[in-house]
Symmetry: C3
Subunit: 311 residues, 3 copies
Amino acid sequence: MQPLKYDFSDLEGAASVRLAEIVDRIGETYRDGFGVNHLDGVNLPRRAEIVEITEKLLEVIFPGFDGRRQGHKEMIAHDVAELLKEIYSELFDQMCRAIRYSRKVRSCEECGTNEAVFALLDALPQIRETVKLDVEAAYAGDPAATSYDEIILSYPGIKAITIQRMAHVLYHQGVPFIPRMMTEHAHSQTGIDIHPGAHLGRGVFIDHGTGVVIGETAVIGDNVRIYQGVTLGAGNFPKDACGMLIKGNKRHPTIGNNVTIYSGASVLGDITIGDNSVIGGNVWLTESLPPGTKITSRPPENRLKFANDRA
Amino acid sequence: MQPLKYDFSDLEGAASVRLAEIVDRIGETYRDGFGVNHLDGVNLPRRAEIVEITEKLLEVIFPGFDGRRQGHKEMIAHDVAELLKEIYSELFDQMCRAIRYSRKVRSCEECGTNEAVFALLDALPQIRETVKLDVEAAYAGDPAATSYDEIILSYPGIKAITIQRMAHVLYHQGVPFIPRMMTEHAHSQTGIDIHPGAHLGRGVFIDHGTGVVIGETAVIGDNVRIYQGVTLGAGNFPKDACGMLIKGNKRHPTIGNNVTIYSGASVLGDITIGDNSVIGGNVWLTESLPPGTKITSRPPENRLKFANDRA
Amino acid sequence: MQPLKYDFSDLEGAASVRLAEIVDRIGETYRDGFGVNHLDGVNLPRRAEIVEITEKLLEVIFPGFDGRRQGHKEMIAHDVAELLKEIYSELFDQMCRAIRYSRKVRSCEECGTNEAVFALLDALPQIRETVKLDVEAAYAGDPAATSYDEIILSYPGIKAITIQRMAHVLYHQGVPFIPRMMTEHAHSQTGIDIHPGAHLGRGVFIDHGTGVVIGETAVIGDNVRIYQGVTLGAGNFPKDACGMLIKGNKRHPTIGNNVTIYSGASVLGDITIGDNSVIGGNVWLTESLPPGTKITSRPPENRLKFANDRA
């Protein structure tokens, strides 16, 4: 037997030989580099760090709500300064990795990371103002909501939308990987899957939210209300002459202002829903609607059967 | 240039000036107090601490399952005493914050926090007995379940229901914020969104559960089975003369005993489903049903197309 | 008053008496052993540790992506050796608990734990190769996907499928509890609920994924695409003469190769969907389909109402 390459000295002999053999076989599968992300050279951002940065950004938007930082009132500006400094450094590192990896540039001077980071940080005050309108829209739209504070503390739609608004800035800066990692963190926490490319207007309210899917090229107007299980998705996927999907074209709906979309509805394709429309629960819609339309599904005929001769 | 107010000394000069300017602009948006939660004075509970307390309460209900505490058999009573002491102190602090903030009282002597905390702690033995019936209902209702232990270890419905049963006690004590924060923690972990106001009977089983929504004024009887994607929701939202939503009225369904509701069904409005009824998958229901009713949707007509001349 | 059995000396007197009384009442409910999991003797695995092991296994499949370990390129084999050693020890401990508890054997020599652990570890290189095909299938199937790396970094379907592929090995080893705990961790993170018993072919893509349910006896072919909200479920649950559910029979669908199932579709019962079929959104299907079938639901008739005399 060859001497072991790995330190399994605290394991029993047979197990250590088998483990060493498995490590070698796993190592073979790493040779093509597929799905291997190492620290050095040019490589990808890391998930746990993007999650950490995203949570810190939420803390800047709603300071003190998360509970991990406990600031006194007059110290909040200094706390946020400390937080922003951390965000700046950590986001710079991760974005540098993302951009260098993707654009094949060698140094961060070439890659424009600094300006992309500042694009997001500069946008934070405006995002905070916009999110206030989202909170107000939730209060106006939900009979169970008792206060703005309750909404900030416990409504998943606010978390998902706030993260998407921040990711959207990085998406428009052309930052690879990170915007989607941010919205997938929101998806994992809330069940709400909004692609960072989607454009959201002001005062958007997503209630309950589990199962909501909003695609990359969707455009949503102001004062739009969306319930659990709604899909704003692609209709069909055109392919090129080689049979490969065409990427990047507009393929999701445009939703006007003051539109309500009830639970389970699917709105599919590059169609336009006019202002002030109402789309009922479970509606399956693949055609545009003029402004002021109310559309409901006639529910599939229900068949009643009465058991035990009770009828 | 004025001297910097914040300590960005480890950053490069241009970046520190830009960061300081952003901190000031963010500080401006904090001036109205919207979404700012500081440590001192009268202020809100904190999310991470409510999550921590909720997980400790689950540990009291099912000791040792989570794995964060490793007690020996004869030590379990002492372990739970230790745990309960922590819960008492932490919950007291957070509830004091919640109640003082909401009721505008100055001190915890006035605010009744102590009695509200004990209302929950006193209820824990009864909740544990009730949750045992939920576990038995899951075993009786799922062919894939191999033991009660497996259900406790891995069924999200048990987690969501147990948390809701605890939050429901605090809801009836009139505790603001915290009950909903507890059920949103469950929602985030399980995809099951049960409002703390909903009344659940004994032996409730929610299978798979992702996308389930149960509204604030829903009432659910004994031995009820609910599958993924079921909504027990509001029908419409009456508004007052000013166009504002009327809050607090009964607007969700009442479900009788021994009712089964299959996946994707929506039961909406203040209607009553009689005992021993069965509601089929994807049914959309807005009217009451007498006891013993079985209702299924005639599925929308399926159109078959056979490709490759196979038909 | 009897002297207190528990150390509540830092609490005020009345509270400590009440707490002690509650601890005693909770202790009463532990007497039947239901839902009590202690450290010593024969007992169950622990959730937090299974989650930890599952995340480490993912790190072996895609090293460096999570971000918790930061290895240099030439060190990756040594890092993975270290990781595998930890996984081996921790999984051995938890599986020993699971198997001894379930099979009522006394020692780990009798219980076959070691071979069951190595069954999973031995399978890891092959699982890694299979998961590469899943990543390629996602890239080929989603117009929004920009690279394989992005898919590994941020697509929940990859996480859920990879965990299920590992849990499936343990399921076939007859390991109790742990496989389902692993897939429930995936369910909690992704909203995708795949039972460890389900058989997945090569190149499976689950997009968005929230609300997907795939049952224990489902069989899925190669190059299958599944969207959010799809259920591959049981049709009905046969009971034995005593009215108890019959467990273990084949009760979920078999899906052929190159099948696509769009969002919200329910495919129920032990039916067979032939190769190259397409099942449209929201289809409710309880009968087998021959190869090459395309089936869509005629959507329930939409009733348009135009408000404000706009029509």
